[in-house]
Amino acid sequence: MKTILQLVKKDYKLFLKDKVALSLTFIIPMVLIALFGAVFGGAGDFEKLSLGFVNQSSSKVAKTIETTLDTTKTFRLIKSYKNEKGETVLYDSNTIKTAVMSGKFSAAIVLPEDAFTDTSSSLKMKFYYDPKNDMESQVIQGVLQQTIMQSIPEVFTQSMQKKSESFLGKDTGKMFNSEMNKTISKYFKVDTSEIYGNMNKGTTKKSTDTTKSKKGGFNMFDNMLNLEKYQLVGKQVTNPMATRSVGGWAMMFLLFSLAGASRSLFEEKQSGVMIRLLSSPVTRTQILWSKYIYNMTVGIIQLVVLFLGGMFLFKIDIFSNFLNLMLLITASSIACTAFGMFLASFTKTSAQANGLGTLLILTMSAVGGSWFPVSMMPETIQFFSKFTITYWSIEGFLAVLWRGSGFMEILPFLGILLGIGIVVNIVSYFNFKRGNIFRN
């Protein structure tokens, strides 16, 4: 152990002497995180977003909303889950909230029993959400509102028609409807026959141009929707966007740093230092362990420094759940260091390690959610994202910083990251035995 510590000490001494490595590890990532954290905000194309859904109302209006949301291209409604016995159980208003809070999906709609009654003048709806990233949250709310607004006119006109006819009698009711159509046509510039025809059919042609609808004056429907919003998670988080960005970008730079650090094995071989080390009472395993401990601790320090940077720049609260954050930082560093060692063991030259490393890191960062939330990516990509270190680290950081998750809740993230670290290290060890780092 003393020998290993001597070797670790040696690597720290070299690292601290290397100004370029120091700036690459701490300053450049910090500058880029500050930059991207400030400007990051655009959303790319996305596939169906998961939306929890509970319909407790028996009204036709609620059913129509459910059908509309079910058929939309934007959302995939999740109405049930499998319980411990493997049985499919429908969500209720409580279980759906728990699901949102635990991060199963970012938002849920609940249509309560009194969503729409005979005396209702508006549609009542509860919207539970976890804005763990602003981008996704805004997209969900925007698309949801648009979809519901497009459906409301048809159910309301139908409802109004029936109410007028029952209240005024059939003939007077028809006259009233006719006059109403003319008034709507006059003030909202919509064809009378179209409104009247749709009233009789019980449908209203959906506008595909929401901009035109708004300009044309359909904002009167805003009053018809009584949307109660409940932010279930992260109310206390001061800068949600930065919370996600810092974790994502920090992970990417950590991977770059550790992949770079593993190249020191090649450099030591090239300079002849490796053969000198191995001519002294030092084993190959001790050299590998010293590299591993050195890289892992540098990784931990780097992540802590970057999160501290996030705290000062974006007011991210890292201390309220610091112990769990440190556990995740350590597990992430262990997994990333294993990745770096794997690169060194798998490649034959420093240049190869560099090239392959850059490729894998950029891929992992993109797929794993360093740049964009994974939930906004196509399903296939979402599947592959689970095979990246980045994904598990970022989701873990979000759980800690966003949801304030405790040890038991982050245990799966820790387990997976440590598992990746152990498996990749074992593979690397055998690769090193066969590889050429320790050969002429």
Partner: protein, 305 residues
């Protein structure tokens, strides 16, 4: 002290060492002379346990040399061919790092550092980064890094490559002093002058095989000619060329003759003949044969081909 018994080593299809057997005694300054690619560095790598031999046994001071064995490593100091130092650190920091790997107590390490830094004239610049050192200074530091733990055997793999003559001489003086103090030294080189100057015994290696092993003088006696005699061409020497021919083979080299003495011809008898023929001895230059010639004679190629 060091034994190699029937050591073989191949890299894919290339046979780097072919049944090499050597025995090096304690206190010897042993040279391994051969051209690039002859197997010198492979022998060194096997001796320090960096590479495993495909077959054969190696012992240093009674300890078997293996890649996973550490005990014998405390007995050896290794000077690699390249300058295996951290350029961005000072001489002192480099020495501390490598010295610490042998578990030396701090005072002992400090003492050894200061002593060797003084011995090679680097003490005053010990705190300077190695990157600012000249090639010769780096070579000297490279050498003393292998000595801090006071090894019994010093293995030097071409330790003077790229060094100016002055620094080279300083290194030779230092090594000779170490050897005089009882340190066993194994020294690989492709410079025959180095082997001739430094080594008590020399093994000549080519294509992984030891082709000759003896003291430098014994090796030179293996040459068919003992000395080279050059005779300047002038009226007196040209007219007596037949006299010279009776002592050996004459090669006409434009401005001078080269006489390769027969084995049975004696130098004293040749000089007597010169006197009888009234040829001034100042027209005659004698050169001793070199290991370079021996290598050429044994292998048909030059050491630095």
């Amino acid at each position: 002290m060091i034994q190699l018994k029937n050591v073989n080593k191949s890299f894919s299809t290339v046979k780097a060492l072919d049944d090499v057997s050597l025995e090096i005694n304690g206190g010897e300054f042993f040279g391994l002379l051969g051209p690039n690619g002859a197997g010198k560095s492979t022998t060194m790598s096997i001796l320090i346990g960096y590479l495993a031999a495909d077959s054969g046994n190696i012992f240093i001071n009674g300890e078997e040399v293996k890649t996973d064995e550490l005990n014998f490593r405390k007995e050896i100091g290794f000077v690699p061919q390249s300058i295996a130092l951290y350029d961005e650190l000072s001489a002192e920091e480099n020495l501390k790092i490598f010295g610490s790997l042998y578990g030396l107590p701090k005072p002992e390490l400090e003492e050894a550092m200061n002593s060797y830094l003084n011995a090679v004239g680097l003490y005053d610049r010990r705190k300077e980064e190695v990157r600012n050192y000249s090639g010769g200074m780096k070579r000297r530091l490279n050498l003393i890094t292998a000595l801090l733990h006071k090894p019994k055997v010093l293995l030097c793999d071409e330790p003077t490559v790229g060094v100016d003559p002055q620094s080279r001489n300083a290194i030779f003086d230092f090594l000779e002093k170490l050897n005089a103090d009882g340190l066993t030294i194994v020294y690989t080189t492709h410079y025959m002058e180095e082997a001739e100057r430094l080594c008590n015994r020399v093994a000549i290696i080519d294509s992984g095989k030891i082709i000759a092993l003896a003291t430098p003088d014994e090796l030179l006696q293996m040459l068919p000619t003992s000395e080279h005699i050059y005779i300047t061409k002038n009226d007196a020497t040209v007219s007596n060329v037949n006299v010279f021919k009776s002592y050996g083979e004459i090669i006409d080299n434009n401005d001078r003759y080269e006489l390769r003495l027969n084995k049975e011809s004696k130098l004293s008898s040749f000089f007597g003949a010169l006197e009888n023929a009234n040829v001034n001895v100042q027209n005659v230059t004698i050169q001793k044969p070199t290991l370079e010639e021996l290598f050429l004679n044994l292998t048909g190629k030059r050491l630095r081909d």
